[in-house]
Symmetry: C2
Subunit: 415 residues, 2 copies
């Protein structure tokens, strides 16, 4: 038995049960926002700044102070910001629904197009891809480079396929690569030729989720699109899912006045208004941009040791192994592990059998990872010691996978 | 100047600003649920009964104890109940979206039908009609009788139009007539011939919202449909919008196992899960069915004087006026005023000019009220004295409208 096989057998015997599969906040992170639950109590005034009773119906775009705060988070005015529900995924889905059914007048509803298509930089966020898959929307992928999507590829696709109407972007600390879009890429996205009802689904989920000492920032896409003469091109989203409570946060969209009016018109058919009590609770807790930034520094302090535990384990076991690389993102929630082609799935399978759950290999690609070489790791949720154990284990699984793969290749063993 | 004209002129001089237009809970009603805000505080345990951390992602169908409680409210098991978001209007809209796009397999998506249509008993709830209008769904209306929809008309429509796929029902204390569906009607709805993917959108918004001393109840439609061999026919909805906070409540759907699986499958594309913190807060406050019923009795005590103020004013001014009738509902949120044909809009217009806002006449009919004879009143929100003032004023407006109408008819005055 080789040392790698021996190490894997020992790993199996540990009976681990660890999960690095989803970008869930750690309990300690959620604890940071527990004081928010005290912001509204039975003796509280529940009036918004405009006097509206947050307990009653109305206020479809959100309460004024929430629109102002989330506008500040997204770099937009309150008038160009709507605050609605607890999840941007829901808002993005609903934007797509409204565009499918109603379109952006005077342009045709998207459902009437011959072959409605979106562009997705890959690796990217699997839930974006799932929405397109569910509604039969063709997804064209473009490579994600160090400074964002390959813009030559984006422009070629737009020129070749007239029915492309959208593009998914996670511009700041992309899921899963941690990529931050460079200024030149952002400006080219704002300026490029595209259909007048083409929309960038600008999912700025991690805009304030820095891990490093020097926060990275992307340009203000609303301003860039407006400057480029395409003010309606971008729908920018963010939420507090990873600021306060993952499932009980507040979500917001910033966009041009025309897009905001469009959203409100269609959202009013669906809803009499969002949960304004939760908005009020959030605003009283999050207060203003500096308070949010201080909260995010406390999140980072909890997250950094978890990321470091993975780096340490990988450095110990994997440094110098040919074809094995991992990023050290400056923000966001993921580590992206690159392995030699053809070994990602095997590694994930070995890990699962050893009780270490990671996201299925290839999930960051809408049609699967053609080279089977990427693994997404989410180290946020487990305790530091567990992250370390899981990362050590995963590294051992990879080393064993590399050995099995080499053996199969050279000895033509059955796969 | 006639006495009616004189009274209206005096009304104008009062400079009123009163609103009976929407079924909003009164502030005193919302106050009843303020203790709910203390149910979760910074030192609270936020675990659901299955151990899930309600602050984090997951649990698409709702937390177990919420599914159980809302199941009890709807007469269904926890397994046949999903709890999701704060508004049933949103859930009904999304069910329609999923049916349009995906359909109920193996049946075709509703968007592929030649002429997708719904049935709506009238008078009915305007927001149901708005959803159909927004998505181009034909609405066939049937008269609402004292015991529910005219079932001969319903069955005739179903036989004549094979693309009917849905029917709106507010079975308990219908908006705006207060109608309670009788047992025979409910059973006939469960048994009638309809397409296999036909769905009753059973909006049981007022199931526990009694005003009288002897609560009225409708049959359990899930049980009736199952007994009739059509277990998938009904999607039953209710929420706490008029139990706790109108915009920050919890909404639920009860349905067959197949329908619940269908909902969860499609909802998972849109959402990582509902606000479980608000569910936990609600369950800890609402506890069980008897506690909810006690809460609803306190709501009724606040609402009854408001309804009575309208009855008193109407009795004083309108008793014995030919063609003028109003209901005294045993539950729900509305009083339905019937006036002589051709005088509803004029009455509403005169009232608006006198500072009394009521819902635009005809809003309870999807294509307008053909006889212009119904006015919906929502007396819940203003204080009792204001309701009385508004009802007296409205009665005076009606009397003046009748006089103007008669004068126009007999003297051929310009309209």
């Amino acid at each position: 038995m080789t040392p790698a096989a021996h190490a894997y057998r020992q790993l199996l015997q540990q009976g681990l049960q660890l999960d690095l599969s989803r970008g869930k906040p750690a309990p300690e992170q959620l604890d940071l926002s527990m004081p928010m639950l005290d912001m509204l109590a039975s003796d509280s005034d529940c009036a918004a700044s405009d006097g509206m009773d947050c307990r009653n119906y109305g206020g479809n775009g959100g309460i004024p102070e929430a629109r102002q705060l989330f506008g500040a988070l997204l770099g937009a005015s309150a008038a160009q910001t709507v605050v609605c529900g607890s999840a941007t995924l829901e808002m993005m889905h609903d934007c797509l629904m409204y565009a499918l059914w109603h379109g952006f007048a005077p342009h045709a509803p998207w459902r009437t197009l011959q072959q409605l298509a979106f562009i997705a930089p890959v690796p990217g966020y699997d839930r974006h891809f799932s929405i397109c898959a569910a509604y039969g929307i063709t997804l064209y992928t473009v490579p994600l480079r160090d400074d964002g999507p390959d813009m030559d590829a984006v422009e070629s696709l737009l020129a070749a396929h007239p029915d492309i109407r959208g593009m998914w972007c996670v511009p700041t600390y992309n899921n899963p690569t941690g990529t931050v879009y460079g200024d030149a890429v952002v400006r080219r996205l704002a300026r490029m030729q595209a259909a007048p009802d083409f929309r960038l689904f600008w999912d700025d989920a991690y805009r304030h989720h820095h891990l490093g000492d020097t926060p990275r920032h992307t340009l203000n896409m609303l301003e860039e699109c407006t400057a480029a003469g395409h003010p309606d091109r971008v729908l920018a989203f963010t939420s507090t899912a990873k600021m306060t409570f993952a499932n009980a946060g507040v979500a917001a969209m910033a966009a041009s006045p025309a897009n905001i009016a469009w959203w409100l018109r269609h959202a009013l058919v669906r809803s009499i208004g969002p949960d304004k009590i939760n908005q009020l609770r959030h605003v009283r807790f999050m207060r203003d941009l500096p308070t949010v930034q201080a909260l995010m520094r406390r999140h980072a302090a909890i997250l950094r040791p978890r990321f470091q535990a993975v780096y340490d384990a990988f450095t110990q076991h994997l440094a110098g192994v040919p074809g094995v690389h991992w990023n050290q993102p400056q923000g966001g929630y993921f580590i992206h592990l690159q392995v030699p082609p053809g070994t990602a799935k095997l590694t994930v399978q070995l890990a699962r059998e050893a009780g270490i759950t990671v996201t299925p290999a290839g999930v960051s690609f809408p049609h699967g990872d053609p080279d089977d070489q990427y693994i997404r790791l989410a180290p946020s949720y487990p305790a530091v010691a567990e992250v370390a154990t899981a990362a050590h284990g995963l590294a051992l699984c990879l080393l064993y996978a590399l050995e099995l793969h080499a053996a199969r290749a050279t000895q033509a063993l059955p796969a």
